[in-house]
Assembly symmetry: D2
Homo-oligomer: 206 residues x 4
């Protein structure tokens, strides 16, 4: 068994990491104190056991002493239960929270729908999403669903798929369906903008 | 006289061109046919003589056989005279035209106001802008002024300066003052978005 | 305890990894099967125990069933004991081995000497290097020492420091001291070469 | 006639310039003083007339008051006539001169031979090169020919082609044929070096 080679292979599977950087990770670890490695393996061992998935928004969160199935956001009474934002990934949710602009609840679909995907329902938490919306519409006075997808082809495709599967619920419960605003983003220069961005900037001028 | 060195110096002043690429330009020209160079110098000689500045929007445009002081946009009766978009540069105007989203008129201020600039009025066509607005408000039923600046620090500074100098006119003539919409632009991913972009995307959701 | 946050912090210390990518690693791990994580922690736990440092060249290598203090290269009778190449890091050694151009032995100094460093001896395995050279000169007929450092400022500084501390041994044992050849490297274009590279390319023309 | 559009087209043919930057050039020129444009067209008009090709090395150089067919290097008695360096482009020659490492003469072949090129003789000044070598071997005691090509696929292909056509002359006049030295170039790190560069660095160690 060559643990250097094997660990290199595993690290190569990490997002954005090639074999060369994976190998640098292994040598980096070899030159750390034993305590560092012990701490790392301890935390990795604990990771799944000390983390759980929120039964409401389906994001990961650290387990509490008091067992709970809801993440801090979902059990926060101060959050507005009439709004539900759908995001692809946990990190999107966290980045939105950092902006301190939204006080409603979330739902993490856990992926996105690639273009020409044959079975989109398998790519996201579709069943759980539909159940959540039905339940929230009945019990929490849900009024608005916000689709917060990336503005790239896969994000657009996911948004369109979500719109199609949500349409009956939207109608049935008279919900508002909105998507994130479009236009100039930080750093945009008009000279280098694409037609689509200028169109959106124009339509949404204020 | 060393024309290779002198031309290299001149090309080095072109926007975005360093001394190395400037020198490549000169050797490129040396290896062209004489006709190519003659054509280039002919066009450069003609450039100023065959181009003129629109007396209404202040952009450059090719002179016509029939002498005119207005560019094709400004003399187009189909354009909506109640809207005026203020841009920094000719290229911004051209890029907006490509999007086919706006049918009003333009005003090119010919620059932008750097942050901490002591005499901003000298950086842009301020006097001409003020006169244009007064005249358009009186004669053309001007209703809306659109500030189409870059969403970077200098663009924002320019926009704020324009807002401050336009305020009295806006009030006096009850004009609407708008700026381009903000939010996600083509390619934006939520994971990598800054707080400002997310805030704008949220406020402008639709 | 928030293992997501803690693991993010630890991954942020990995070479070339910022807090954002560190967090992506954690979410990546959270969505893996339990077996993947178990395998990773098992290998990390084994890493130090199943790896050892070669007592001759000081690189890391996987432990064998038969206990050994020498890495496969150092115990290979086919390698030429009269040549010793000094490298900074294990990865440099591995990259040289991939080129199949060198059949001698190595010594990994485990670091490099930053410019203006006050105590260079603490940055590298200096004592072990000096002992190795004395021993090899006496017992193995050492003839040539090759300094294989990066051709950047820190690599050059390290090379100069090594030359200064090796000088007495070089003299005493009449060794040859060489450094890697310099000149054009793969992809070099003359138009964009710095003066130093052209000088070296010229001196070493063949 | 739209000179803005026509000039944009011409600038788009400049090396490394796309239509967008070409257009920025035109607007840059439109906003210059008339004197700037006059100076530019004057120099462009003079360029061919005030520049000539050296009848010995075939590089461009500014004409002198006293008419001469030789560039300053070729008519400099201090240069070593026994060495001839063959380069692809004028800029390569200039960059080599900047390194102050070579005191012989040059020959600019004016191009390079693309891989799989069917008629390589048409891509370079082959006839003039062969004549120059014959003449220099007879009259100037030529001893060494140095091939100074880029270390990329097209440069390597050109070098191989030159070696093949020069072989008879090399033999006939007992010349030395050399190519630029190879190995680490400024900035090279061993961890990221390709096998070819390491092989060369090793062979040429000193």
């Amino acid at each position: 068994m060559d643990p250097i080679r094997k660990l290199t292979e595993i690290f190569s599977e990490f997002p954005g990491i090639g074999p060369r950087q994976a190998r640098r990770f292994v040598y980096f670890l070899l030159t750390r104190q034993t305590g560092y490695l012990k701490n790392l393996t301890f935390l990795l061992n604990e990771l799944k056991g000390s983390t759980t998935i929120c039964q409401s928004c389906f994001r990961f969160f650290p387990k509490d002493k008091t067992p709970t199935t809801l993440c801090p956001i979902c059990r926060d009474d101060g959050r507005d239960k009439t709004e539900l934002t759908i995001v692809s990934k946990d990190i999107d949710l966290e980045n939105i929270e950092k902006a301190h602009v939204y006080t409603g609840l979330y739902f993490v679909i856990g992926g996105s729908v690639p273009i020409l995907e044959k079975s989109p329902a398998t790519k996201i938490r579709q069943k759980e999403l539909m159940e959540t919306i039905t339940k929230r519409a009945k019990n929490d006075g849900l009024k608005e669903i916000i689709l917060a997808m990336n503005l790239n082809p896969e994000g657009e495709n996911t948004r369109e798929y979500l719109e199609s599967i949500l349409r009956p619920e939207i109608k049935k419960h008279s919900l508002k369906l909105s998507t994130l605003g479009r236009g100039l983003s930080t750093g945009t220069e008009l000279e280098y903008s694409d037609t689509e961005t200028i169109k959106n900037a124009w339509k949404n001028r204020a």
